[in-house]
């Protein structure tokens, strides 16, 4: 935003700030409610009307509880789930980005027969609902004798690979051909051009697709539930949370689920904070001039 002066400028800045606050409230409020619920005891959760902060049922004073958090952290399942999820989601993302960016470069920048069928074939692999492909996928994994973690990494390719490929293809296509030609005139091979010129230019797209794919893999539930049924030590966070047993047997431990959800979301936000620098800097603007 340019600094504008005068009443109009003030008004404009005010409007802009208002918009930012509105967006933040809209996006963050439900998460705030999850954190709020995670700090409540069972009886506080069932207070009417619901309170915006944890309050003591009798005195209505602010009284948060950490019992849900300590219950979650004491649960070995959950911490192991965090480790499993990190391994699975990271490997999935790296694999999907490598295979995806290779394919995307071919699809976006090279001329060859069968380009369009290849593009649609890759998209087609993700067009079935997960439930439908589950049995077939399970058969493949049993036949290959893959471990639970490796099965998840491969299975997640079904939805991450088409995504990375398609997004990156559209970004490669946007880069001017002149860039590639000038590099080739300088004697670089096509692959070198791809690796050292085009790839860095699409850094914002790589980071963005990587983050979105990572989170999609991190949050996946149905495949993880099925593939870890034989190996409980490989359970990822969503599955571990589903297996939480409440203190009261018949009641589902809502407070604990919310505590776990809050705990899981924090590392993701930190991850985004680390990587967002890459999204911001985006080495692009100057270089694309050609």
């Amino acid at each position: 935003m340019k600094k504008s002066s005068g009443t109009f400028g003030v008004l404009k800045r005010f409007g802009f700030n208002f918009m930012i606050i509105f967006i933040l409230v809209y996006l963050l409020f439900p998460f705030y409610w999850a954190v709020n619920s995670s700090l409540k005891t069972e009886s506080q959760l069932f207070m009417t009307p619901a309170t915006a902060i944890p309050r003591d049922p009798a005195t209505l004073e602010f009284s948060p509880t950490m019992q849900n958090y300590s219950a979650v952290l004491r649960d070995g399942q959950f911490l192991r789930g965090l480790a499993n999820s990190s391994i699975v989601a990271t490997s999935t993302t790296v694999l999907a980005l490598i295979a995806g960016s290779f394919a995307a470069f071919a699809l976006g920048k090279l001329r060859f027969r069968g380009r369009r069928p290849a593009l649609y074939l890759i998209l087609a692999m993700t067009m079935f609902p997960q439930v439908t492909v589950l049995t077939g996928l399970y058969a493949v994994i049993t036949a290959l004798g893959l471990s639970a973690r490796v099965s998840m990494i491969f299975a997640y390719m079904i939805f991450t690979l088409p995504f990375t490929t398609w997004v990156l293809t559209s970004f490669f296509k946007e880069l001017p051909d002149a860039l590639m030609e000038s590099a080739q005139v300088d004697g670089a091979t096509t692959f070198q051009t791809f690796k050292s010129i085009l790839l860095p230019l699409t850094a914002p797209a790589l980071v963005t697709t990587g983050l979105l794919a990572f989170i999609a893999a991190w949050n996946e539930y149905l495949f993880a539930l099925t593939f870890t049924s034989i190996d409980p030590t490989a359970r990822t966070v969503p599955v571990a949370i589903a297996y939480f047993a409440g203190a009261v047997a018949r009641q589902e431990p809502f407070g604990e689920i919310m505590a776990a959800a809050s705990l899981v979301t924090v590392p993701l936000v930190v991850l985004v904070l680390i990587f967002q620098r890459r999204i911001v800097t985006g080495l692009t603007a100057g270089a694309v001039k050609g």
Partner: protein
């Protein structure tokens, strides 16, 4: 490209330009195949068999998790799912007076019972809904009204939520793309809804939408004095779909926003500088420069959002259970609840075809992918 090589080959008289081009083209083609290989291998290993199996099973009466013999039954599953029959409902004539019977309570004409007029062969049609047109009353029957309902739910859900996500996502992307102080933190905060585990987020919203003042929304609306009695958001037919749409829009707008933001980010700034010098206003710049340049990013974002929306499962399954289906949650019900794997696979194929149609129409409509 062409001019460069023409120059080069005209200097060297040995090789004709044509041969040189085709050599280069061949090299390019070979490189393309090598680059595509990892992706194609992954598809071949992990996706080919399951997808082929879904297609095949959709033509059989296979029962899930059983040793029962499987028969090939052709298009029967599709017929069962998709048969729709529209017929007129005639008013009932009162035999005593010979006049049209009127319901004494509502004052409306009494019509035949739909079940009496709808066909029973090859399988029984049940009522899906009724409508009036030019003074006639019609009934829409289907052999599987729950499925037809799930298709209509899913398509409404998809069209409305993807549209809202596009508008909101674009607005957020534009705001975050401008320079301001807390931009970095804003980008991280922006992703929170997408980062919350889907199954958990469904639980969270279920709690917030609880039908009493335990729920955040009923407590809030009551406090604001908007409502007299708590609303059962997830039980009443009026609010079920809007609630699903609200939850999905909240959860996936960040996905849309981030993809569009990346598209905005790689736009060369000098175009805007030039436009500024030419005196084009912000709105003009947006319509004539930003939107057209953003088109490829928009198409890809639309395709993937639509793809996910048409397969929506978690939120319908967790929040509505069996009271209202999406296509994928009906699919799950048929597979796990009824163990009807053949029928479930046919639903999968129908979803597949729907997604394909949407994807193609986006690409055609927005005119991307023109060589």
């Amino acid at each position: 490209m062409t001019s460069n090589h023409d120059n080069a080959s005209s200097k060297s008289k040995v090789s004709s330009p044509k041969v040189k081009m085709s050599n280069l083209a061949k090299r390019e083609e070979r490189l393309a195949f090598r680059l595509l290989l990892p992706a194609l291998l992954i598809i071949a290993i992990i996706a080919f068999y399951p997808l082929a199996q879904v297609f095949y099973t959709s033509f059989t009466d296979r029962v899930f998790a059983s040793g029962q013999e499987t028969n090939f039954i052709g298009f029967d599953n599709y017929q069962q799912l998709l048969s729709v029959h529209i017929t007129t409902l005639d008013p009932v004539i009162d035999e005593a007076t010979g006049e049209i019977m009127i319901d004494p309570e509502t004052g409306q004409k009494v019509y035949e019972r739909p079940l009496d007029v709808l066909p029973r062969e090859p399988s029984r049609y049940r009522e899906f809904n009724q409508f009036s047109l030019f003074g006639n009353r019609y009934v829409v029957g289907a052999t599987d009204p729950s499925f037809i309902q799930s298709v209509s739910n899913t398509i409404t859900f998809t069209v409305v939520s993807v549209f809202l996500e596009l508008v909101l996502g674009l607005a957020i992307a534009l705001v975050v793309n401008s320079k301001f102080r807390f931009r970095g933190s804003m980008r991280a905060a922006m992703l929170v809804p997408w980062a919350v585990i889907t199954v958990v987020s469904a639980r969270m919203w279920e709690w917030m939408l609880a039908p009493s003042r335990i729920g955040m929304f009923n407590a809030l609306f009551d406090w604001m004095g908007v409502i007299d009695s708590p609303i059962a958001f997830l039980a009443s037919g009026t609010y079920q779909l809007p609630a699903m749409i609200a939850v999905d829009v909240w959860k996936t707008t960040p996905f849309m926003a981030l993809l569009l933001l990346a598209g905005l980010q790689i736009m060369p700034e000098d175009i805007f500088e030039a436009a500024e010098i030419d005196g084009a206003g912000k709105i003009r710049q947006f319509i004539t420069i930003t939107l057209p340049l953003l088109k490829p990013a928009i198409v890809v974002a639309l395709i993937f959002r639509t793809l996910d929306a048409l397969r929506v499962f978690d939120i319908f399954q967790v929040m509505l259970g069996q009271s209202q289906y999406s296509m994928a949650s009906y699919n799950y019900f048929q597979l796990i609840g009824n163990r009807n794997m053949g029928l479930a696979s046919a639903i999968g194929v129908i979803i597949f075809i729907l997604i394909f149609l949407f994807a193609i129409s986006y690409i055609k409509m927005l005119g991307v992918d023109q060589e």
